[in-house]
């Protein structure tokens, strides 16, 4: 990668601003129709899935019902929930599709997630000690994090985290480590915990008590179907999200590096810390367009259906400025994530080998 001058970086930023403005100027009826259609399809899928599970006397029916429900839950979580909560659809001023009113089908309350994700993670993307999403305070995913014997078990932690991801996220939002450090009062934590319990309680009752009971003799098939659907969604979300920031090429930054960061440098950090996934339109929708993680991190509040359209422009811009644009297949990116999980479970020196050196150090 060639070294960028300060002027280059600012120019890069201005070009990105232009892309952003183009999308904003052309947002309209077509985009509104898109998100409403996704929501309608998702709800129809959910109702059909649950309906099929209620008729699941034969295994293929059970499978179809569970698959429909899992698909609905994935759409709800990713293309709809995540993106609505980012405020991507706030411009429509529809109170029913708005970041301030939306609640999603996960155990974590949307408001808590908005704080840790929209604010902390998107502002401090891949900044060590600031971006709590690095390893979710559970794992060592950057060689700069000091090693501890505890990390020896991290392949196991990650494997357990995947199916329980929504619970991990809820716990993560509690910011227990800040409580330990005394940055956060017990009172705050207890209020938050109450909100989680209230939310999680309703979620658990719905999927594991109410629907199974309603199914009468089919109690078990419905219970297991719902459990499978939730876990499938969790594993899928975990996989996609980890591919977004932790494949081997993604850069990690220190607080000193980003001091006094300009808009151009902020864009650059978002670019270098994110990785895309290649795939077709349906794949993109199923990842909530987090397959366009780079575009999402550059423009977190632009409607997700537009990422595919601007991706070639962003890519061309990176080429023009000699910047990397990290993109790969789901399989490849997942493999490198796991490689990193395994490798960093073992003690390594703080200095990364040359090819992995944080790109920003060269760029900034």
């Amino acid at each position: 990668m060639k070294t960028l001058s300060e002027a280059d970086i600012e120019e890069f930023g201005r070009e990105l601003d232009k892309i952003r403005e183009d999308v904003i100027a052309s947002r309209g009826e077509g985009d509104a129709r898109y998100i409403r259609r996704v929501i309608a399809v998702q709800r129809a899928l959910e109702v059909s899935g649950r309906g099929l599970l209620f008729a699941a006397v034969l295994p293929p029916v059970w499978l179809a019902g569970t698959a429909a429900l899992a698909t609905a839950k994935i759409l709800e979580n990713m293309e709809i929930g995540h993106n609505v909560l980012h405020g991507q659809w706030d411009w429509m001023r529809d109170p029913e599709i708005h970041s301030s009113t939306w609640e999603w089908d996960l155990v974590s309350p949307a408001t808590q997630w908005k704080h840790t994700h929209n604010y902390l993670h998107h502002t401090w993307t891949n900044v060590l000690g600031k971006d709590r999403d690095i390893g979710y305070s559970l794992m060592r995913l950057s060689p700069e994090q000091p090693w501890h014997p505890y990390y020896l078990g991290q392949p196991l932690y990650n494997a357990v985290l995947a199916p329980l991801f929504e619970w991990g996220v809820a716990l993560h939002d509690l910011e227990l480590e800040r409580l330990r450090r005394g940055d956060k009062s017990w009172g705050q934590a207890i209020t938050q915990l109450r909100a989680i319990l209230r939310k999680a309680g309703r979620q658990v009752v719905k999927d594991y008590v109410a629907f199974p009971l309603l199914a009468g003799p089919l109690f078990m098939p419905v219970l297991i179907g719902n459990l499978t659907a939730n876990m499938t969604r969790n594993v899928w979300a975990h996989t996609v999200i980890f591919c977004g920031h932790f494949p081997d090429e993604a850069a990690v930054f220190t607080e000193e590096q980003i001091e006094g960061e300009t808009r151009g440098e902020w864009y650059l950090r978002q670019l270098l810390g994110s990785c895309n996934l290649d795939g077709g339109p349906l794949f993109h929708i199923m990842t909530g367009n987090l397959s366009h993680q780079i575009e999402h991190h550059l423009f977190p509040d632009l409607p997700s259906n537009r990422y595919a359209e601007i991706a070639p422009r962003v890519r061309a811009l990176c080429e023009q400025f000699g910047l990397p644009y990290n993109s790969g297949s789901l399989l490849r990116q997942t493999a490198t994530v796991w490689k990193r999980v395994f490798r960093l479970a073992l003690p390594t020196s703080a200095q990364r080998p040359e090819p992995d050196a944080p790109a920003s150090a060269q760029a900034a």
Partner: protein, 363 residues
């Protein structure tokens, strides 16, 4: 069905919805039912446009079937109408032009396209039967008292005829037309909204007299003419709806005549003070976490909407108080008077207040 029975049914429906909500959490049953028929929602009042009837070149009447949660209106009242124009929800206020007695479960609004406007051209030129729109329940005090006075005077201009048309239709329906005089002003004869119906009524109902004034042919209706046209004007209850200047003149005249309480006016837009210039500032919407720069003349309501904040609103002209937000810091300017005010904790009507310096508001 009696009102009591209806309340009972609503109560049962609510309790049922509460139970079903355990199955739809975190959503509500409404969110699923609404996909089948948006009018079934019990949380959001909506209506479906069933007919679009041209009235003049640039005005139409929309016949709307309101969904669950609607209440009967009184002639002369207005409703809020929410439509999506280019994907963005906008709310405006429209008077009901249909008589409440017409009990087919439908109501009409009559809209004149304002050149350069967002919502009215959309409603007039682009709305088709089947369109679902947001509604708010009828409200407003521009109505006839009960019992109806024996002598009435209506003074209207342009689209200002709409609430009065609602009243006239209601009087026709009741079968007891008091002594009514209508002075109406429009650019030309063709541009008189409800022109044909008004003329027919005037020729059929002996108690109803109609004076049309066409401004384009130089026959501007001035309130100074009222004593000549209506010698007993002092003894009539009067309802006026038209441009701001006309309403202000009416207020002065009736006040000077010592009978201000005979006068009822309906404003379609706020009377903006002449000198609303002045510096704006950065506005922080605390509940939603949004920030925006505002000039000194744009209502905070519009500033917030443009920034993507879900701003509550209603009439958008300072009469209904649907749009208030609590001021945390800073001062605002009342666009109607130009007056600056604001203390911490004060409720501000965002639709008629602009920022006067940096502002923090709990919205």
């Amino acid at each position: 069905m009696t009102a009591l029975a209806r309340t009972r049914i609503d109560e049962v429906a609510l309790r049922l919805a509460d139970t079903v909500a355990w199955l739809t959490t975190p959503l509500l049953p409404d969110d699923y039912l609404g996909l089948i028929n948006p009018l079934w929602s019990s949380r959001k009042l909506r209506g479906r446009v069933e007919a679009v009837q041209p009235e003049t070149n640039d005005a139409v009447s929309l016949t709307v079937r309101p969904g669950r949660g609607w209440i009967a209106h009184r002639a002369g009242q207005f409703i809020g109408v929410g439509v999506d124009v280019d994907g963005v929800r906008h709310w405006r206020t429209y008077s009901l032009s249909s008589a409440p007695e017409c009990a087919d479960g439908r109501v009409t609004i009559t809209v004149k396209a304002v050149p350069g406007g967002i919502v009215s051209p959309y409603l007039v030129h682009r709305t088709k039967p089947g369109t679902v729109i947001g509604l708010t329940r009828p409200e407003g005090r521009f109505v006839l008292p009960q019992p109806v006075p024996s002598r009435l005077l209506f003074v209207t201009a342009g689209s200002g005829i709409t609430p009065v048309m609602g009243m006239l239709r209601s009087l026709v329906w009741s079968g007891e037309m008091p002594d009514v005089i209508l002075l109406h002003s429009a650019p030309t004869r063709e541009e008189v909204i409800f022109g044909a119906e008004l003329r027919r009524l005037a020729s059929q109902v002996p108690n109803l007299r109609l004076h049309e004034h066409y401004t384009r042919s130089g026959c501007r209706l001035s309130l100074a003419q009222v004593p000549d046209l209506v010698p007993d004007w002092c003894r009539r209850g009067v309802w006026v709806c038209g441009p701001t200047a006309m309403l202000q003149e009416a207020e002065t005249r009736w006040r000077e005549a010592g009978i201000p309480d005979r006068l009822h006016v309906e404003h379609f837009r706020p009377a903006v003070a002449a000198s609303t210039g002045g510096a704006g500032g950065r506005v922080r919407f605390l509940s939603s976490g949004q920030r925006a720069d505002a000039d000194g003349a744009t209502p905070l309501l519009v500033v917030g909407e443009d920034a993507g904040v879900l701003m509550p609103s209603g009439c958008r002209m300072g009469i209904c108080y649907s749009c208030t937000g609590r001021l945390r810091s800073g001062r605002v300017r009342d666009l109607r008077s130009g007056r600056e005010y604001g203390e911490e904790g004060e409720l501000v009507q965002t639709c008629v207040s602009a920022a006067a310096g940096p502002v923090e508001i709990e919205l």
